[in-house]
């Protein structure tokens, strides 16, 4: 008897900023909807453990999409995308979540995202608090530091760079099988996409002087950051949490930049109290 995961995958057409996209998404479970957003230069595979966890999918409807240009969501057919440099913008990233939620008929879903997706959690709470019952920012910060983006898409630098880089954005004591899978998924992203996503992560995302406008009475904000993350550090998120009144921050010991993928068992220990609190309201 063959064994199957409980995941169902399909495509949905979304019109975002006047352009139609064929977007791949996977879902499983039933209950409170949770939109899970992958990180920059990655795809929904990062959340595969969440989609198959029996306890989670018994109470929650987990939805994981590949952003356009990522995973199985190809660039749009109506645009000559090859004539311009790909860049993920904040407005597109926000609009994508809203359109996805509405197209799937979700009612006040929970949003959870990691890294770039974690940054977006704060943008959603700021600009669309009525759309989400709660947001969970994993590895979130007010802004990222500076970085040279060209290494992510350079004719002399191949995918070996991404795999070597991704390995050390997971914490050293976590299971090697998961750490190695992260390196593989990082290589699946087209090089221009990894660089282009960094446009949002390093350049467009900046909550300086905006954090106090986030109203956590309208949209609850939870923050989880891994001890080892060198880009969004625990201290960065603590500073963010201090400014977003009512937000709830937890440090994830022994974790780094992609907790749900680098150690799903440990990540769940940090996540479940949050999900249970959301479900109890």
């Amino acid at each position: 008897m063959a064994k199957f995961d409980p995941i169902e995958g399909r495509f949905v057409y979304l019109t975002i900023q006047g352009v139609k996209y064929r977007v791949y998404y996977e879902e499983s479970g039933q209950g409170i909807p949770i939109i899970c957003q992958h990180s920059a230069g990655s795809q929904g595979l990062e959340w595969r453990h969440m989609l198959t966890d029996p306890e989670i999918i018994s109470k929650y409807h987990v939805i994981v999409a590949d952003l356009p240009y990522h995973g199985r969501s190809l660039p749009p057919e109506s645009v000559q995308w090859w004539k311009e440099e790909y860049k993920l913008t904040k407005s597109f990233f926000i609009d994508f979540q809203i359109e996805l939620s509405r197209a799937l008929g979700l009612v006040k879903p929970v949003y959870i995202g990691t890294a770039a997706g974690g940054f977006l959690a704060l943008n959603l709470a700021l600009e669309h608090p009525s759309e989400f019952r709660a947001v969970i920012g994993v590895e979130a910060a007010k802004h990222a530091g500076t970085a040279t983006l060209d290494t992510f898409d350079h004719p002399y630098i191949g995918n070996d760079y991404k795999r070597a880089n991704a390995m050390y954005f997971s914490a050293p004591a976590n299971p090697e099988k998961y750490r190695r899978a992260i390196t593989w998924v990082s290589m699946l992203a087209a090089p221009p996409v990894t660089k282009g996503d960094m446009n949002y992560y390093f350049i467009e995302h900046d909550l300086t002087e905006k954090t106090q406008q986030i109203d956590t009475s309208r949209c609850v904000v939870y923050l989880l950051t891994g001890e080892y993350d060198p880009t969004s550090t625990v201290e960065d998120t603590m500073e963010l949490a201090k400014e977003v009144k009512g937000s709830k921050f937890t440090e994830m010991k022994g974790m780094s930049h992609a907790g749900m993928a680098e150690n799903p068992v440990l990540f769940k220990k940090y996540l479940m109290p949050i999900l249970n609190e959301i479900a109890s309201k």
Binding site: T151, D160, A164, Y168, Y228, P230
Partner: protein
């Protein structure tokens, strides 16, 4: 703590382990570069030729040329070489972001061969703790 990979009595055996490591052999393919690793004031040149390390030179290397260099204090390398390193010392890239290590020289070459370099450093850690 004595750093093994700059110990002249140990470098020959370290080279043998590196060149026989299955992952390193794939990661280092095509690599012909001279890599400088500085541990505090000690300079070490690692010579790659067609994907094979031909020498780790840690004595009298002060005048040897190199393509790119990774520099760190003795304290930084000691932390890096721990079995489970503390945060911001577990990887060179993250360590560079946090200012614990410095990359200089031909950085395009460094990043194009980053997998080989990081695997080599992981093997240094494994051997350090054997």
């Amino acid at each position: 703590m004595a750093v093994h990979f700059i110990d002249p009595d140990k470098t020959s055996s370290i080279v043998d382990v590196l060149n026989s490591d299955p992952e390193f052999k794939i990661a280092a393919r095509y690599m012909t570069k001279d890599v400088c690793i500085e541990v505090g004031k000690t300079k070490c040149i690692i010579k790659f030729r067609d994907g094979v390390i031909t020498q780790i030179k840690s004595e009298n290397a002060f005048a040897d040329p190199w393509n790119f260099a990774i520099r760190g204090s003795l304290d930084a390398w000691e932390k890096f070489l721990q079995p489970i390193p503390p945060r911001f010392y577990d990887g060179i890239f993250g360590g560079m972001i946090r200012g614990n290590f410095v990359l200089e020289g031909d950085t395009v070459s460094a990043f194009s061969h980053f997998w080989a370099v990081t695997r080599m450093l992981d093997i240094f850690r494994e051997l350090q703790n054997k």
